[in-house]
């Protein structure tokens, strides 16, 4: 089942104003940077973006924020972005902050047909406001609902023509769950190989979850906190 599309233009066809997008990545690690750059070019507006972070000023989702294409962010941590903070504090941008584990699990649930689950995270905090509380094992838990998106856009290291994906190191992060939760899932990959070249034991995201795959033109892979030791 060939899922290959020619390029980012073809991959992103159908993304329209007011849609909900999931975007993989943690910080700038494992983000679909080619797709994000093209979303800016497309100029789609009023997007709801589900992404653990919101990029930085001038890179990643920061680009979409600067061009004011985002109506609402659903994230766990947005601390690296001045423009984000400005838009949020001024009320231009709606923001829904979610505990990171709940965000990951809600995306997984969305892809797995689990409409809701109980978690202890956030009990007793403002995250729990308006949410059902139930005691399990003597501990209060809150009910969290699944998240899905019109499009999920993920970035993988290797992918094959059938849409099977392998991620590298910690660039895996949110990508596998989000890949399951998009009505249409788009994967941009560093290396695109023929079906059969990836070991079926090693595949992180089976192709069934991916509708379109393309080789990204250029991966800058910017590092947020270059931290080193001396030899």
């Amino acid at each position: 089942m060939n899922k290959v599309v020619k390029n980012v233009e073809e991959a992103l066809v159908g993304i329209k104003d007011d849609m909900t997008l999931m975007l993989g990545g943690f910080g700038l690690c494992g983000i679909p940077e080619n797709s994000i750059a093209h979303l800016v070019k497309m100029g789609v507006k009023n997007l709801t973006c589900i992404s653990n972070n919101a990029g930085v000023d001038g890179f990643g989702l920061g680009l979409l924020l600067e061009s004011k294409q985002v109506k609402k962010m659903i994230s766990s941590y947005v601390g690296e972005n001045d423009e984000f903070e400005r838009q949020m504090l001024s009320g231009e941008l709606e923001v829904d902050l979610i505990p990171q584990g709940s965000l990951a699990e809600r995306c997984r649930a969305g892809g797995a047909g689990i409409p809701a689950f109980y978690t202890p995270a956030g009990y007793g905090t403002e995250v729990a406001e308006g949410k059902e509380v139930r005691i399990y094992n003597g501990k209060p838990h809150i009910l969290e609902e699944a998240l899905t998106a019109d499009f999920a856009i993920v970035k993988a290291w290797k992918g094959d023509t059938e849409g099977n994906l392998i991620f590298k190191a910690t660039a895996r992060n949110f990508n596998p769950m989000m890949a399951t939760a998009g009505r249409i899932t788009i994967a941009e990959v560093e290396e695109l190989v023929e079906a059969g070249e990836l070991n079926p034991n090693d595949i992180h995201t089976p192709g069934i979850f991916v509708q379109r795959i393309f080789k990204g033109e250029k991966f800058e892979k910017r590092i947020e906190q270059r931290t080193v030791r001396q030899k």
């Binding site: 504090l89 584990g101 990951a104 947020e224």
Partner: protein, 218 residues
């Protein structure tokens, strides 16, 4: 004399036990990894998806695809594994991680912690902190006893939006080691040369002082 950040990290490192999986938060907690007591082995989990986190890479060997939860470039130890965020928080929520060390803006005597938001001022998000504090059996907070204005952050009740309720077991500051039990802070140790009186004066929450308060041995 009050401890510096390294001193706090060293004291917390004494809490590590052989065979533990440990999650270290950003800031002082990260430093704990540098002072693992001799003869014990612990494994560090970072919630963005690695178990077996190693030292920072040598210059020129950074890999953009290999970072910790603080977005710093890291390395992987032998026997490391990578996994997605759902699996990572399955480890945390499922209590497979034996110790969580994290920073705080405020801690209260019933174990509440606030460390993610100053309304109208700083709204960066909770990241994984709420999952960590809601699930971990063993949470140690690394923090300064007072804020820059000199006000105590060791409180009877938190004033900032909470990250979790009744979850903190132990607090290590530049002045003291406090255990939280029965809705009170219990002074367990004081920093070398720091008087019990100083700790009392800088602690707003209810403080239980035993007859003998030993100095930390670092």
């Amino acid at each position: 004399m009050a401890l510096d950040k390294v001193g706090i990290a060293k004291r917390i490192a004494q809490e590590l036990r052989d065979g533990w999986y440990v999650n270290l938060g950003i800031g002082i907690p990260t430093l704990v990894a540098n002072y693992i007591p001799e003869g014990i082995e612990v494994e560090f989990q970072s919630e963005n998806g690695i178990l077996g986190m190693g030292a920072f890479p040598f210059e020129g060997e950074e890999d953009a695809d290999l970072i910790n939860a603080g977005k710093q470039t890291i390395t992987a130890r032998k026997g490391a594994s990578f996994f997605d965020s759902a699996t990572s928080f399955a480890m945390i929520r499922g209590q497979h991680v034996q110790l969580t060390v994290l920073g705080a803006m405020e801690v209260s005597q019933n174990g509440d912690i606030a460390n993610w938001k100053i309304p109208g001022k700083m709204v960066k998000g909770m990241g994984g902190a709420m999952d960590l504090v809601a699930s971990a059996e063993n949470i140690i907070v690394a923090m300064m006893h007072s804020n820059k204005a000199g006000e105590s952050k060791i409180l009877s009740k938190c004033t900032l939006p909470l990250t979790g309720v009744g979850c903190v077991k132990k607090v290590v500051t530049e002045l003291a080691v406090l255990e939280i039990k029965d809705g009170k802070f219990h002074l367990i140790e004081r920093a070398p040369g720091v008087s019990v009186e100083e700790i009392i004066s800088k602690t707003e929450g209810e403080l239980v002082i035993p007859n003998n308060v030993p100095e930390m041995v670092l």
